[in-house]
Amino acid sequence: MSARGVTITVNGEARSIACDPRTSLLDALREHLHLTGTKKGCNQGACGACTVLVDGRRINACLTLAVMHHGAEVTTIEGLATGDALHPLQAAFIDCDGLQCGFCTPGQIVSGVACINEGHASSAAEIQAWMSGNICRCGAYLGIIAAISQAAGRS
């Protein structure tokens, strides 16, 4: 199958790659652009570790093809900090112990940023429901909810 040219603005920078149409957005980010912050967990849309923002909306990067996103703007975990200054939700995850092993954390944080932007972080119960697409096998949920609550309160 012939490679196709795809240009995606990733974290504010236009990036062009040539990829097989089978390439998921997740594999394009990790294998072609070497942005390995976005994690491959289940690779079937169940765990949320691959959550990225596409045109501002959180989606599972594993369940979409890179060729579907020619011209789109993608934000990954690498695009949240400003220089050395962490995004407020990144700082809140550290403050609140929102992780143990850290594998799900990039997806949790990107999803959490969207959760706050959507206005779905007004209570612990609401955060639980709207973060249900992100699984944490270490069970750091209490810290994750505390971190999102803290960042939502500040923003």
Binding site: P21, N60, S132, N134
Partner: protein, 325 residues
């Protein structure tokens, strides 16, 4: 994943031509790409239809019209959905995760394939995946499977929450294809498995769902979706029901009841609806209606619990709807 060719189309004519040549439509991709990776689906040519102008959500009088490419999240949060058909918003938000709801289209939601584990297990017999190979669920793990509309060839439930609400609300689909445009009830989209479980829907080859039309009226106002499942969110239904009541002067003038998680397609309970007409909206009447709903249920070895759970879910949902002002 097997190789395929890929085209992005910008007009409906292009889309229909590509489909007539054997292409498969690709919208959100959340079901199709997953199944392609598992090699359960093996399309040779994908037609990306996301650029078509079919994502509009609008009101026409008291009716709600939903473009087939509207995303689950956008329909659930749209002011006209919340004003005219909060039941639809409720059913959508009970399904999937926020990430999936941002990606998945309404047309794709209705056409999503079953969640029977044997369908996804390539070394297991499955008549849906490989006609004639047998059904592993009937003698296997079947706690999540159907108790109505089953056949000796397939017992998988239809997984959509939205479809249950649309069937309860008498929604209609508008589709376009090589033969032009036609409309039919959402309920008629879904086939019973019978002897041909690999045939799941009634679209003709190359037809494209363009819009869902949901009539307004009294049932829209007292309507609830109740979903019972193994965890509180992001899980498929064990049993779900969409109910709607038209109550005037303390009597039920109209009732709609449909269930998910129990049928091989979204299951409308017309005998239960008829039994409620003229009755006061009280538990006794709801229980009698629920009793009729489970008549004819054929539980499998692992899902006898669904019979009683369906009864109780219907009663509870009717009470919740009756309490709405």
């Amino acid at each position: 994943m097997f190789p395929f060719s890929f085209d992005k189309v910008s007009t409906e004519d292009e889309a229909l031509r590509a489909a007539a040549a054997g292409g498969r439509f690709l919208a959100g991709g959340t079901t199709l790409i997953d199944l392609m990776r598992e090699e359960i689906e093996q399309p040779r040519h994908l037609v990306d239809i996301n650029a078509l102008p079919l994502a509009e959500i609008r009101a026409e009088g008291s009716d709600l019209l939903i473009g087939a490419l509207a995303r689950m999240a956008d329909v659930a949060g749209h002011p006209e959905t919340l004003r005219l058909h909060p039941l639809i918003a409720e059913s959508l938000l009970e399904g999937a995760s926020p990430q999936l709801r941002n990606a998945a289209s309404i047309g794709g939601n209705l056409l999503q394939r079953v969640r029977c584990p044997y369908f996804r297990m390539r070394d297991a017999a499955c008549n849906k995946r490989m006609p004639g190979s047998g059904c592993s669920a009937i003698g296997g793990l079947n706690a999540g499977h159907a108790i109505m509309g089953t056949s000796e060839h397939c017992v998988a439930t239809h997984p959509s929450d939205l479809a249950v609400a649309l069937v309860a609300l008498d929604a209609t689909l508008r589709v376009r294809g090589p033969e032009g445009e036609r409309g039919f009830p959402v309920e008629d989209l879904f086939r019973l498995p019978g002897e041909t479980p690999h045939l799941e829907h009634t679209l003709m080859p190359g037809e494209l769902i363009v819009e869902v039309w949901v009539p307004g009226g009294p049932p829209a106002r007292k309507a609830r979706y109740l979903k019972v499942r193994d965890r509180a969110s992001y899980e498929f239904a064990l049993v779900s029901t969409a109910v709607a009541l038209d109550i005037q002067d303390g009597r039920i003038l109209g009732a709609r009841i449909a269930a998910g998680g129990v049928g091989t397609r979204p299951w409308r309970m017309r005998a239960s609806e008829a039994a409620l007409i003229g009755k006061a909206p009280v538990r006794e009447a709801f229980s009698a209606a629920a009793e009729l709903a489970v008549r004819g249920a054929r539980p499998l070895s692992g899902n006898h619990y669904k019979v009683d759970l369906l009864r109780r879910t219907i009663v509870r949902a009717l009470e919740m709807a009756g309490e709405m002002t």
